[in-house]
């Protein structure tokens, strides 16, 4: 074995419960169940493939996978004693979320057809749905074990796919826009779950462990950069018309650039000595891509996208400065990775920007449609938020049950609860 020795650890009073009984069992049962469902209810796509289209879909799928596996994995690795869990749990959640989302998407898209046909585009869609889980995982990072996260994945993917189905069938939203509400949905879902899990969090643990180290800050930067590079692919992934797709790529690109510049300069501006805060950079540079998401195919000129990116950067930095105080002390929600100001606020900004843009476009053609469009726009946005909040509360309640064997609050933010440490040799 490459890593040498395996050592026993001393028992302590807050010893975390053993996961041996439940985690392997439930994971295997789940995987076997998934294989059985796949056996009965899926079929491969047997129609002939257009090579260009296949490769196109495959490229986008790759880009989205890179974002979720590498980007989010390392974006969340900022805690100094939680790097392993951040990266490895993220991969696990992706693998589970994709399988589940492929099935849910297939079942809810055509409820009466017997078999789900698996295409590359359905895997792409599933990966994007699984992204909601890894966003939420950022908020609950360090406070839940793998079993709790597994449960969270199943619930969250189901609710998210259902929400998108409602959007599509009853509110006649297109796929792209309802997907772009993922940020709002996932943020509020994650925050609610985190609220339930952070109730017994005490100050000392948080202060001691919830800080970033220099080197893991660099790892986080690796994740940030990969997300930043591939965000245009994410925003244009579900658009089919070439012109819209092109628009989406350009707008996202410029919005990201604007928010990166804003984030860095404003971060320096708010510091008494003009220093840049690395944590702000990790989160705020991505805000532009989030904010421009819903409307990226509609914006006709780059300046508007850049304005959105600028505002998103500002909001994100403002959130990073004010929110942690407020959330930790007043509401008691502990948002580990700052999901609320990275994805939540910019997502809301993007939703509002989309509504305004739609109304502006409609007002040129049909005056009577304004009310309807306003209703639809606000409806979908609040649906995303409400379903996130409600599902989050329910999930939080379930995760707090004893059966999940959640770690003790004193062991939050600590890899040692979940990993065998041959070399660090930190006793309990």
């Amino acid at each position: 074995m490459p890593h040498g020795h395996r050592q026993g650890h001393r028992m302590g009073s807050k010893y975390p419960p053993s996961m041996r009984g439940c985690l392997p069992l439930w994971t295997l049962v789940l995987e076997v169940a998934l294989i059985v469902i796949f056996f009965f209810f899926t079929s491969s796509d047997t129609s002939s493939q257009d090579p260009k289209k296949l490769m196109g879909n495959f490229r986008v799928l790759q880009d989205v996978t890179i974002m979720v596996a590498l980007g989010f994995g390392f974006l969340n690795s900022s805690l100094r004693r939680y790097g392993w869990s951040s990266v490895a749990f993220n991969l696990f959640l992706l693998a589970l979320g994709v399988q589940w989302a492929v099935l849910m998407d297939g079942f809810l898209e055509r409820p009466f057809r017997k078999k789900v046909v698996i295409k590359l585009s359905s895997i792409k869609l599933a990966t994007m749905s699984a992204m909601s889980v890894v966003i939420s995982a950022g908020a609950v990072l360090g406070k839940a074990n793998l079993l709790q996260l597994t449960l969270m994945t199943l619930v969250e993917v189901t609710v998210f796919v259902t929400m998108r189905m409602i959007d599509r069938q009853y509110l006649s939203m297109d796929d792209h826009v309802s997907m772009m509400h993922i940020h709002v949905f996932a943020t509020y879902f994650g925050l609610m779950v985190a609220w339930f899990l952070s109730r017994c969090l005490n100050e000392r643990v948080t202060e001691e462990k919830n800080q970033t180290a220099k080197s893991s800050s660099l790892f986080t930067m690796l994740g940030t950069l990969f997300l930043w590079i591939f965000w245009p692919s994410f925003n244009s992934a579900l658009l089919d018309i070439p012109k819209e797709r092109k628009n989406a790529v350009f707008n996202t690109y410029y919005a990201l650039a604007a928010s990166a510049v804003t984030a860095i300069s404003v971060s320096a501006l708010t510091h008494p000595q003009g220093k840049i805060n690395m944590t702000h950079i990790h989160n705020a540079v991505l805000a532009g891509g989030v904010a421009v998401g819903p409307s990226c195919h509609l914006i006709a000129s780059p300046w508007l996208a850049m304005l959105l990116g600028f505002m998103a950067g500002l909001i994100s930095i403002w959130g990073a400065l004010c929110l942690p105080e407020y959330f930790n002390h007043v509401l008691g929600i502990h948002d580990t990775c700052g999901v609320h100001y990275t994805f939540g606020f910019p997502g809301l900004l993007g939703g509002i920007a989309y509504i305004l843009l739609i109304i502006y476009e409609v007002s040129w053609t049909k005056q009577s449609m304004i009310g309807y469009q306003l209703f639809i726009g606000i409806g979908t946005l609040s649906l995303a938020m409400a379903s996130g909040l409600i599902a989050g509360v329910l999930t939080g309640l379930v995760l707090n049950l004893k059966i999940c064997k959640g770690p003790h609050a004193a062991k939050y933010f600590d890899d040692q609860v979940f990993w065998e440490f041959p070399h660090l040799a930190i006793g309990f």
């Binding site: 490459p2 041996r20 985690l23 392993w84 696990f92 893991s216």
Partner: protein, 562 residues
């Protein structure tokens, strides 16, 4: 010996250039053979379509394999660096020799597909490199690259052209072959001191995180690897989807079993880094067959389980009983899943998932791959052991400092919290005046001090600087020495008089140590008995005097022994 490696590399590169000059030309419209199934696009167009897939494979080879091997705490430079070197040599040699074998000695016209195949041939060497990682010198790696790719190409020719076996993702010809070749070489190069575990063969927190970068890159691009050389678009689609589902299923079972075999259900980073990829290896052979996503998931799930169990039970057994020391555990990531892949293809053909190959031929391909790999590996190992004898000595195994020039860095491991109740080896604990002002506990696990910093500290506090390291036995031996009268450098710093510190009986807890640091350095002097630094052995008086000497060094070493 100093000149051997550069000369060898230059001669090899020169001969590559000469060989390319005589045999290799670009693919153009005229000399390309029109494929039958593609009438409207020319082969050159098709070639360019493959370019993204080629890039994915390239990323896997250089970033994926390179970083996957960086888990060793003192061997990161070599893992990534030698990986780059042998991949660069291997793909030139691979292009040439594959072209010669497949074109029967005529001029080779290279397109993107040849480049993908050359990258594949490199992958075998990198897999074998994983088995001998840290125990072999770059010059030996060059020799091994040349021999292994030649043997690989021969085996691939036999499997593909004579047996006409189907192996699109090359589970057998690349993964199983590379793994068993590497194991055979590692077996011949075995040293008895590896049996109990080498002291440098360990990872630290961040080296494992670096290895995760490699894992993720391999995981993300594996569908490209398995589908890159597919003939038709349908096969390509099938290969992508199958590989994807095999990988995701493999992740779940690997986590489950890692938790199952771990103490109190804990996960093991080694398993996560490697076993999550086993699904991609195992599904390789039947990736383009009609096995449906559920079939791929079954294969991936089994591969994940086999791989974790291999790491847990088989690797220690290989090292102790068979005397084969497999540094990265390639047998569990590539060897066993490769065999699983070959068997899975036999089952799939029996069940009628493909008509391109027969059961017997698949079995023959699997046998031929493993057989040639072991034979080739043994011969290579013997050549490396008795002819090209530039292997580093055992104490320089797993050590970058033999091959890389860097500012002499003293690494001092600092344990952020407790000393555990039972540690097999001595650990030491250096509290250093200057270091801790900047570097509070827990910021880093390893504090590295450059020579300049040491100089600065020496001027400030007038100390002689000692670097302590782990040694066997009850003593903590100071192995590095920095003196006013001159700097003795060598990676192992032989000191004329080796001072010894006596280990500490009881561990300090985190807050005690933190208090200790915050209250100032002089409190840490070993005489202060209340800090658990009491000399504890029979030669009490002698130790006292030693300690007294070292007081002037302003250094304290605390250690704990079983």
């Amino acid at each position: 010996m100093k000149l051997l490696f550069p000369l060898m590399a230059i001669v090899l590169e020169a001969s590559m250039i000469v060989l390319f000059g005589f045999f290799v030309k670009y693919e153009t419209e005229q000399n390309a053979i029109q494929p039958l199934n593609n009438t409207n696009t020319t082969k050159v167009d098709r070639s360019l379509e493959l370019h993204p897939l080629f890039q994915d494979v390239h990323v896997m080879i250089f970033v994926g394999f390179g970083f996957l091997m960086t888990f060793l705490k003192k061997y990161g430079f070599s893992s990534v660096g030698i990986n780059l070197l042998i991949a660069a040599l291997g793909l030139q040699w691979g292009t040439f020799i594959q072209g010669i074998v497949h074109h029967h000695g005529q001029t080779i016209y290279i397109g993107i597909k040849n480049m993908i195949n050359a990258d594949f041939s490199t992958a075998t060497v990198l897999i074998s490199f994983g088995a001998v990682l840290g125990k072999i010198s770059p010059a030996q790696m060059l020799i091994m690259t040349i021999i292994e790719i030649a043997v690989f190409t021969g085996n691939e020719y036999v499997v593909g052209e004579i047996f006409k076996a189907s192996d699109i993702g090359a589970s057998m010809t690349i993964h199983a072959f590379g793994a068993y070749f590497g194991l055979a070489v590692a077996g011949v190069l075995y040293r008895p001191s590896l049996r109990r575990g080498h002291e440098k063969e360990e990872s630290v927190y961040h080296s494992d995180l670096f290895a995760m970068i490699g894992t993720l890159f391999l995981w993300m691009f594996w569908p490209s690897f398995n589908s890159a050389i597919a003939e038709t678009t349908e096969q390509q689609y099938t290969a992508i989807v199958n590989t994807y589902f095999s990988l995701v299923a493999c992740v779940l079972t690997a986590y489950a079993f890692s938790s199952f075999v771990g103490k109190r259900g804990k996960l093991d980073m080694v398993h996560i880094q490697n076993a999550t990829l086993a699904g991609g290896v195992a599904v390789g052979t039947c990736a383009d067959m009609e096995i449906h996503p559920y079939g791929a998931m079954i294969i991936g799930g089994i591969a994940g389980i086999v791989s974790v169990l291999g790491f847990k039970f088989l690797t220690p057994c290989l090292t102790e009983k068979l005397r084969i020391h497999d540094t990265c555990g390639v047998h569990n990531l590539h060897g066993l899943p490769g065999v699983v892949g070959g068997l899975a293809s036999i089952v799939a053909i029996v069940l009628g998932a493909s008509k391109r190959s027969s059961m017997v031929m698949q079995a023959a391909a699997l046998g031929s791959s493993i057989g040639t790999a072991i034979a080739g590996g043994l011969i290579t190992g013997l050549i490396l052991r008795f002819i090209v004898r530039v292997q580093p000595s055992t104490e320089f195994f797993f050590d970058d400092s033999v091959y890389w020039e860097f500012l002499p860095l003293y690494s001092i491991d600092i344990f952020p919290r407790l000393f555990p109740a039972k540690l097999k080896r001595d650990r030491y604990f250096d509290v250093f005046n200057g270091i801790f002002r900047e570097n509070r506990f827990g910021e880093e696990n390893v504090v590295r001090i450059s020579v300049h910093e040491v100089d600065k500290m020496m001027n400030e506090v007038e100390i002689t600087f000692l670097v302590a390291s782990i040694r066997k036995g009850p003593y903590l031996t100071v192995t590095g020495c920095y003196r006013k009268d001159g700097f003795e450098t060598n990676s192992y710093f032989p000191c004329k008089e080796i001072p010894r510190f006596v280990p500490v009986d009881a561990p300090l807890n985190y807050s005690q140590v933190q208090d200790l640091v915050q209250e100032g350095f002089h409190y840490c002097l070993p005489e202060r008995a209340n800090w658990d630094c009491v000399p504890a052995t029979h030669s009490h008086a002698k130790q006292r005097s030693q300690v007294a000497i070292h007081r002037t060094f302003n250094i304290v070493a605390l250690s704990h022994v079983v």
